[in-house]
C-alpha cells in the first residue's frame, strides 16, 4: 500500500486514462489510450510520469513499492514486488510474483482435511 491513503468517493477514480479502483491500491490501470514513456498524469495532487510505454489494460505504479512489498489492485493483494518499483513504472510479470499460495495458507492448510477454516 502507498503510505498516503488516497481518498476515493466512488469505485472508479483517477484521471480519464487511468483507473484506480480502491484507495488501498498502489497501482492504476491504463485505459483509453496507452501511456507512452514520458507521459504524465495527475493523481490526487501528485504528478506521475510514465517511465516506459504502458499498454491499455496494463498497470502503472502510483508510488514506490519496495521488493517484497505487496501489489494492490481492487483494494486487494494481487502479487508481490520482486524488485523496487518506482512511480510510473510498468507493473507486470517482470517485476511481480504471484502470491496465491501465501494467501491460501493464511486461512487453511491445503494438505489437511481437518477443520482449519477460520473466519
Amino acid at each position: 500500500m502507498c503510505e498516503k491513503e488516497y481518498q476515493s468517493s466512488s469505485l472508479i477514480t483517477g484521471e480519464r486514462n487511468i483507473l484506480v479502483l480502491s484507495p488501498k491500491d498502489n497501482t492504476a490501470t491504463v485505459v483509453g489510450a496507452s501511456l507512452k514513456a514520458g507521459d504524465s498524469f495527475r493523481f490526487d495532487g501528485l504528478i506521475v510520469k510514465a517511465m516506459k510505454n504502458i499498454p491499455f489494460g496494463h498497470k502503472v505504479a502510483l508510488c514506490n513499492i519496495q521488493a517484497g512489498e505487496y501489489i494492490y489492485k481492487y483494494g486487494e493483494i494481487i502479487g508481490k514486488a520482486t524488485e523496487t518499483i518506482y512511480p510510473g513504472d510498468h507493473v507486470h510479470t517482470h517485476n511481480v510474483e504471484d502470491v496465491v499460495d501465501e494467501l491460501r495458507h493464511q486461512i487453511s492448510s491445503p494438505n489437511s482435511r481437518s477443520d482449519k477454516f477460520k473466519e
Binding site: 480519464r16 483507473l19 496465491v100 494467501l103 491460501r104 477454516f117
Partner: protein, 385 residues
C-alpha cells in the same frame, strides 16, 4: 429504470420453467454421436453429442451420467430422444427413464439394425415430438425460476474492470428476486481466501478450499504446477499479471451474495442464491456442466471475444473492451465499455444487462444462437482406460 420481475417461459410439470423448448437428441456414447446429429438435423431438434460414455471408471463414469441426466432434465428441454449404440456403459433406456415430465424415447443402433434404419426411426419419433412441443405456449413466470450461469473466458483487464462487475450487479438483482446464480471454479483459483469467507457455513468453505487444494495436488501429480497454465498467455499479453489478479476480477461476476453451496460438475442447483460449481477445464466444459446443473441461460464475459454457445441454452456474450466489441460484433451481445469511460456507473450498466438477460429469457435470440454455436463437452476425471 423499471426492474422487471417476470419473464415469458415454458412451464414444466415439475415446476421448473424453460426459456427455450428444445427437442434434445442425445447420444449416450461417442459411437452414436453421428447418428444422433443426423436425426436432430433432419427433425428440427438439437443434438447433444460428446466423446464419453464408455470405458470409464468410478467418479469419472458417475460424472458423465450426472451431466447427461442434468442436461435432459434441464427445463429448456421440452422432449428427449436418447440414441445409444447398445453395448456402452451409459444405457439409453436408463438415461431415458430419468426423464419424468416430458415426451421421451430411446433407440439403439444395434437393436435397429444399423445406421440408416436408426436414423429413419429416430426421425419419425423426433418429428412427432417436435410437433407436440411446438404447441406449448409461453406463460408469464417469476424470475425466481431462473438459474443463471455466469462464466468468463478470454479475459483481459476490462473483464475485471467492467464486464464482470456489471454482471455482478445483474447476479445480485436476480438473487434479490429469489433466483439462483451458479459460478464455476475454473476462473476463481487465487480468490479462495476471499470466497471461503463468504460461504454460508464452514462446511461449504471447506469444500471450496478442498476443490482448489485438490487441483493443486492433481497438477503436481502430473509433474506440473497449474500456475503454468494460468494466467494464460492471452491474459498476460493484455495486462493480467497474476492468478490472484485474474481471480479477483473474475469473482465479481457472481455478485456479493453469501455462497449457498458447492456443487460437483453437473450437480443440480436446488435453492435460490449464489452457488459455486467445480468446472475444471476449458470454456465449453464449464458452460456445459453449468447447464447440466439446471441453468437455463449463461452470461459469458470476454475481453478478447469468445464465440462458443450451447445447444441447450443461450450464451450471452458480454465484453468490457470496446475495440473487441466493434471487431467481433457478430459474436458479442452487450458492451459494458461505458463503465470504463465513466459515462455510466456499474450499477446502471448492470441493470441494463439484467433487462437484456430477461429479454433473452423471453425468447430474443443471442448471437451464439443465431450463428448456430452449439458446442457441448463433458469433462473427464483421471486418465483414460
Amino acid at each position: 429504470m423499471i426492474k422487471r420481475n417476470t419473464f415469458w417461459g415454458y412451464e414444466r410439470t415439475d415446476g421448473q420453467v424453460g426459456i427455450r423448448n428444445h427437442l434434445l437428441v442425445v447420444s449416450t456414447v461417442h459411437c452414436s454421436a453421428v447418428v444422433a446429429q443426423k436425426i436432430a438435423d433432419q427433425a428440427g431438434g438439437v443434438a447433444i453429442t460428446h466423446q464419453q460414455g464408455c470405458m470409464q471408471l468410478g467418479e469419472d463414469l458417475e460424472q458423465t451420467k450426472r451431466v447427461l441426466q442434468g442436461v435432459v432434465q434441464n427445463p429448456n428441454c421440452g422432449a428427449v430422444l436418447v440414441v445409444g449404440l447398445g453395448c456402452e456403459q451409459i444405457h439409453a433406456k436408463e438415461l431415458a427413464e430419468t426423464v419424468k415430465d416430458k415426451p421421451v424415447a430411446y433407440i439403439n443402433i444395434h437393436a435397429e439394425g444399423g445406421t440408416p434404419k436408426t436414423i429413419v426411426k429416430g426421425i419419425n419419433i423426433a418429428k412427432k415430438m417436435i410437433d407436440t412441443i411446438s404447441r406449448q405456449k409461453r406463460i408469464q413466470c417469476s424470475v425466481s425460476k431462473l438459474i443463471l450461469a455466469v462464466k468468463c473466458g478470454g479475459s483481459d483487464p476490462t473483464s475485471g474492470l467492467a464486464a464482470n462487475p456489471a454482471l455482478g450487479v445483474a447476479s445480485d438483482l436476480l438473487i434479490g428476486l429469489d433466483g439462483a446464480v451458479v459460478m464455476g471454479t475454473e476462473s476463481l483459483y487465487g480468490s479462495e481466501h476471499i470466497l471461503a469467507k463468504r460461504a454460508k457455513s464452514p462446511e461449504i468453505a471447506q469444500k471450496i478450499l478442498h476443490s482448489f487444494a485438490d487441483l493443486e495436488r492433481d497438477s503436481l501429480q502430473m509433474g506440473h504446477s497449474f500456475k503454468e497454465a494460468n494466467p494464460t498467455p492471452g491474459n498476460k499479453l493484455r495486462g493480467i499479471t497474476t492468478m490472484v489478479e485474474k481471480a479477483l476480477g473474475a469473482m465479481t461476476k457472481g455478485g456479493t451474495a453469501p455462497i449457498s453451496g458447492f456443487l460437483n460438475a453437473g450437480e443440480r442447483v436446488t435453492e435460490p442464491g449464489l452457488w459455486i460449481m467445480e468446472t475444471r477445464g476449458g470454456d465449453v466444459t464449464g458452460i456445459s456442466v453449468q447447464a447440466a446443473g439446471g441453468a437455463q441461460l449463461v452470461v459469458f464475459t470476454t475481453g478478447w471475444g469468445n464465440p462458443v454457445g450451447l445447444p441447450i441454452a443461450p450464451v450471452i456474450k458480454v465484453t468490457g473492451n470496446n475495440s473487441t466489441y466493434k471487431r467481433m460484433l457478430d459474436n458479442l451481445d452487450f458492451d459494458t465499455n461505458d463503465i470504463i469511460t465513466r459515462e455510466k456507473t456499474v450499477q446502471e450498466v448492470g441493470e441494463e444487462l439484467f433487462n437484456k438477460i430477461l429479454d433473452i429469457a423471453d425468447g430474443e435470440l443471442c448471437k451464439a444462437e443465431i450463428l448456430g454455436h452449439n458446442e457441448f463437452a463433458i469433462p473427464r476425471i483421471g486418465s483414460a482406460i
